[in-house]
Subunit: 352 residues, 2 copies
C-alpha cells in the first residue's frame, strides 16, 4: 500500500497538551507525507488549533465527539461511562475500516482497553504487548543503538507462548521498521543458564532456541539490558514495566544522587553541571519524545502509543511511523509467523 | 549477648580473592572487635595468609577442609559432590551451635542452598530472602540515603505471605541495624493503586496496609526506586533481581551511552570525564564493597552474603555487621513478628 492510500486515526484529545500538540503534529505530518489523518475529538477545539498551522486540508478529516478520557481516570470505569470518548471512537474507526492504524498519546490503559474491546487480535495471539525503545551503549556495535523491550505493561503475567509471540512481534518490527537484517532476541532473566528463572522462563528459553525464524541469543540479565546485547528483549509485563521504569528513574536519579553523595568534590560537581544537559537529553530519549512512540502489538491493526508529554514533533513522527507500519504490513507478517508457530507448537488433539 | 561471646563462621574460601582477603578481613576484625572468627577452609592456605597480618590469635580458630565450591560451579551439583566444601561446613558449624552467624563471599546459590540444607528456617517462614542495600537520592530526607530491597534473587516467585514476611525482615533490620525509628515499607509494583499488579500484589498490599507493626507507604514504581521513598522495598525474587541489576548496569551504562551519543559535544565529554570517578564510586556502592554485605533473612541464624569481589575491608565490615545482628537478636525479633502475623492471618482449621 502506498502512503497516499493510508489513513491514520489520531486520538486528538489524548495527552497532556492535547489537542494543541496533536493537531499541530497532524498538520505537520500532512506537509511531509501524503498520509491522511482522522482527527477524533472536539471539533471546535480542533478547528481552533488547526487555524494556527499550515496543512493540506484534503488530508485531514475531523470526527467529532465531545467526550474524552483523561489521564487520571480509571480507564475501565471511564470507558463504560463514555462509550464515545475520543480514544474509544478512534479504535472503532480503525476496526470499521475507516483507518488503517491508530495513534494516541492518551492513557495507556484506556488505549489498550479500547483496542481490546474494538479491534480483533491477530489469530492465535492471546495477549497484546506494549513495546518500548530504549537507548543502549551497544557494546556489540549493533546497527541500532536502541533496543526494543516488550511487554512493558500491557499485561502483568504472560504464558510461555505469549513470550514466544512477543519475540515474533519484536523481531518483525526490528526487521521491517528498523531495517535490521537478522535481529537478535534475548529473554530477560535472572541468570544466563537455560534452567534459570522458573519453569515458565525455562520453557520459553527452550522453545526460542529451536525456532529457525528467531535469532535467539539467550537470557539477558538486568545489568545487561543497557549494554544492548540484543535488538529485542522479551519479558512479561510486570518485569518489563519495572525494568523500563528503573531505567527511566535512574537517568534523573544519577544526577541527584551524585550531587548529594559527592557534594564536597568540586571536580565531580563541575562534571555534573556540564553533564546535566546530557542527562536531560538521555531522559528525553527514554521518554521517546523524539522517536514517535511505542508500538502496541497483538491487534490486527497497528497501534502507536505516544508518551503523555509528547510534543507535536513526536505526534508527527508517530503518524509517519504508523503509516510505515501499514505500508510494510507489520501486523500481517506477525500474523504469518505466529500462525506458523502455533501450527507447530500448539497441542492439537486432531487424529488424521 | 556481648561481642566477646559472639562467634562468626567465615567461609574462608568464598570469593574471587579468597583466602587472601577473607583471612585479612578476619585478622583486622579481631583488632577492632572482641568477636571470635571460625575460619573454615584450607588450613595451610589460611595459615600462610594469617602470617602476613596482625591479629588476636585467641579470637581466630581454623577449621580445616580441603574442598570448596567455586563461583562457576552449579551449586546443586557441587554440594552433592563436596559435602565438606567450606561453605557447607560453615553452615553446619552454625547449625551445630559452634557459631552464631555466617559470613560468605562465595557463590550466592551455594550459600543459600547450604543454609537451606543445614540451618532451620524461622518458624512460619517458607522462603529465605536476599536483601540488597542501594543508594537513593532520598527526596524525602529520610535518615539513611540507602534503601533495602528484598528479595533480590533467593527466589523466583513468592506468595503474598512471603512478601509480608519480607516486610517484617526488612523493617526489623532497618530499625535495629540502621537505627531508623519507624522504617517505611513500600511494595514494588506497576502502579500506585492498590488493585495494580495482579491478584498476588493486590492481596499483599491489602494485608500490609492493615498491619500495625509495619509503616506501609503503598506501592513503589520502578522509576521511584532510586528516589528512595521507602526505607524498605518488598518484591518477589525475579522482579527484585531484575530491578537491582538494572540499577547496577545503569551506573556504568550512563557513562558509555553518554560518550557515544554526545560525542560531538565537548562540554558533555569533559563533564563525563570529570564524573567518571563518581560513577565508578556509585557502582562500588551498589556492589556493597564498603558496606559489609547483604543480609540473607529467613533462617534462624543470621547470614551475611558479601560480594564476590569483596575487599578485606568489606569482609571485616561484614563480620562486624554479623556480630551486631547477633547482639541485637535480629532473627529473634523477626521470628516474633512473623509468629504474631501467622497467628492472626494463617488459616487455622482448629475448632476450640
Amino acid at each position: 500500500m502506498e502512503d497516499h492510500e493510508i489513513t491514520i486515526a489520531l486520538d486528538a484529545m489524548g495527552g497532556d497538551d492535547a489537542p494543541a500538540v496533536t493537531v499541530q503534529g497532524a498538520a505537520e505530518a500532512t506537509l511531509e507525507s501524503p498520509l491522511k489523518v482522522l482527527l477524533i475529538g472536539d471539533e471546535k477545539a480542533i478547528q481552533k488549533e488547526l487555524k494556527k498551522h499550515k496543512y493540506h486540508a484534503d488530508q485531514i478529516e475531523i470526527i467529532h465527539t465531545s467526550h474524552q478520557i483523561s489521564m487520571g481516570e480509571n480507564p475501565k470505569i471511564a470507558m463504560n461511562q463514555k462509550p464515545d470518548a475520543s480514544i474509544v471512537l478512534a479504535t472503532r474507526k480503525v476496526s470499521e475500516g475507516h483507518a488503517h492504524a491508530l495513534v494516541s498519546a492518551g492513557s495507556t490503559g484506556a488505549v489498550i482497553l479500547s483496542a481490546a474491546k474494538n479491534i480483533p487480535r491477530i489469530l492465535g495471539v492471546h495477549k497484546a504487548a506494549l513495546a518500548a525503545s530504549y537507548p543502549t551503549h551497544n557494546i556489540q556495535k549493533r546497527q541500532d543503538i536502541f533496543s526494543l523491550l516488550l511487554d512493558v505493561g500491557a499485561n502483568i503475567h504472560n504464558s510461555h507462548h505469549d513470550l514466544v509471540h512477543f519475540a515474533f512481534m519484536g523481531a518483525t518490527y526490528a526487521r521491517e521498521i528498523k531495517k535490521i537484517e537478522n535481529p537478535s532476541v534475548g529473554l530477560l532473566n535472572i541468570g544466563a543458564e537455560e534452567y534459570k528463572g522458573g519453569e515458565k522462563l525455562a520453557r520459553t528459553h527452550g522453545i526460542l532456541k529451536t525456532l529457525p525464524d528467531i535469532n535467539f541469543i539467550g537470557n539477558i540479565e538486568g545489568n545487561q539490558i543497557m549494554q544492548g546485547l540484543a535488538d529485542v528483549v522479551v519479558t512479561e509485563g510486570l518485569t518489563g514495566n519495572i525494568a523500563l521504569k528503573v531505567m527511566e528513574g535512574m537517568a534523573s536519579s544519577v544526577k541527584h544522587l551524585g550531587k548529594q553523595a559527592f557534594r564536597q568534590n568540586v571536580l565531580w560537581k563541575m562534571g555534573l553541571i556540564m553533564l546535566s544537559g546530557g542527562i536531560r537529553k538521555l531522559k528525553d530519549v527514554t521518554d521517546y519524545q523524539e522517536y514517535g512512540g511505542a508500538p502496541i502489538f497483538g491487534f490486527d491493526k497497528m497501534i502507536i502509543k505516544c508518551h503523555g508529554r509528547s510534543t507535536a514533533k513526536a505526534i508527527k513522527n508517530a503518524l509517519k511511523l504508523a503509516a510505515k507500519s501499514v505500508r510494510d504490513d507489520i501486523t500481517g507478517q506477525i500474523s504469518r509467523y505466529i500462525t506458523n508457530y502455533e501450527y507447530h507448537h500448539a497441542d492439537y488433539d486432531v487424529e488424521v
